[in-house]
């Protein structure tokens, strides 16, 4: 199935060691997105970066080392994103949130097959 609609994209930048209620912030935001029924969310780990605190964050070759820059990319309709923004205000203590207008095409398999 194919749907096409205008949407908003939110990108949030912060560090991998940032936490929210003891949980990694990116996991907490992702859980919030799922709760709100946001269409698409994906977390990327950067190789290197710096943010509002001006400290350079590195990602190590050793995958368990933390403090890498994190970028979360979220896509949904204007209304859905509007519902998410207040939550982000509460959750992101230090970081950057950027939004942009996008056009979306969504492909999905027929409803019966998707539930495995």
């Amino acid at each position: 199935m194919k749907e096409q609609f205008p949407a908003r994209m939110v990108r949030i930048h912060f560090g991998e060691d940032d936490r929210w209620h003891g949980k990694p912030l990116h996991e907490a935001i992702l859980a919030k997105c799922m709760e709100l029924g946001i269409t698409e969310a994906i977390v990327f780990r950067g190789i290197e970066g710096y943010g509002s605190g001006s400290r350079i964050r590195h990602s190590s070759h050793w995958p368990l080392t933390k403090d890498a820059p994190i970028q979360l990319s979220i896509v949904d309709t204007e209304e859905q994103i509007a519902r998410l923004i207040p939550c982000l205000d509460a959750m992101v203590e230090e970081g950057l949130v950027a939004t942009s207008t996008v056009e979306v095409i969504r492909y999905s398999r027929s409803a019966g097959k998707s539930e495995e």
Binding site: L30, E40, V104, I105, S108, S114
Partner: protein, 239 residues
């Protein structure tokens, strides 16, 4: 030089061990063809075969054979072949010479010396679009990971550039959370492809995305290209 149209293809079958004046026969034939100005010739070594003497020649690890079958092939005009055939028969010795009529569709061209060609089809400045495609890393297209197939397809369609990002956590259309496990060899997560080009080119590519992506999300956004710098590639010109 060989032109398109009717021509003859000559195939000579030899045994690798065959020598003439201490030189392998194939190399004296190749030299002969080269100096007689034949358009081109290829020597291939067989893996196994047998000839008139009905002795099986094979590349076996146990009995390392130096008598493997050799095939020399070349294409030339009838006149030129008639002129060299006599000598060729003599050179081939016990080998077999076969000839058949063929049609040259496209003659090979002499490669020009290397020169720098700027990739003109990649010139984009100012207003452009970014196309992001979100798929799962497990998704496949014709037995190939989908993201690899998409990159190959974009490359074939001259899309200026694409980068694949692997997400460490994410979910998509059917709300299954993809999580990257550290120290885990086979990764199953979300990936995002980000491609930038002009709107027309990305839209022209979209039908292919329709075909290839069964499940996923495609996001278009307007971008401004501030700088597009490339290194001039060393390409071998063919014309």
């Amino acid at each position: 030089m060989l032109n398109a149209g009717k021509a003859m293809k000559v195939t000579i079958y030899l045994s690798d061990g065959a020598t003439r004046h201490g030189v392998p026969v194939y190399s004296s034939i190749l030299d002969f063809l080269f100096y007689r100005g034949v358009a081109g010739a290829t020597v291939t070594k067989g893996v196994a075969g047998f000839g008139a003497d009905h002795h099986m020649h094979s590349a076996n690890m146990v009995e390392i054979s130096d008598r493997l079958p050799i095939k020399i092939e070349f294409i030339e005009t009838r006149e030129k072949i008639d002129a060299i055939l006599g000598k060729l028969e003599e050179l081939a010795g016990t080998g077999l010479i076969e000839m058949q009529e063929t049609t040259v569709i496209k003659p090979a061209q002499v490669s020009k010396p290397k020169q720098f060609i700027p990739p003109t089809h990649l010139k984009i400045e100012g207003k452009a679009q970014m196309m992001r495609i979100y798929v799962s890393e497990e998704d496949r297209w014709k037995d190939k990971p989908l993201h690899e197939a998409l990159v190959a397809a974009m490359r074939a369609n001259d899309i200026a550039g694409v980068t694949v990002y692997r997400g460490i956590l994410g979910y998509g259309a059917h709300r299954r959370v993809h999580k990257d496990k550290p120290l885990h060899a086979n990764h199953h997560g979300s990936v995002m492809l980000s491609a930038i080009d002009t709107e027309e080119k990305l839209r022209a590519f979209l039908p292919l995305v329709d075909q290839m992506v069964a499940e996923g999300l495609v996001v278009f956004s307007d971008v401004d290209i501030v700088k597009y710098a490339y290194r001039a590639l060393e390409v071998e010109a063919t014309s």
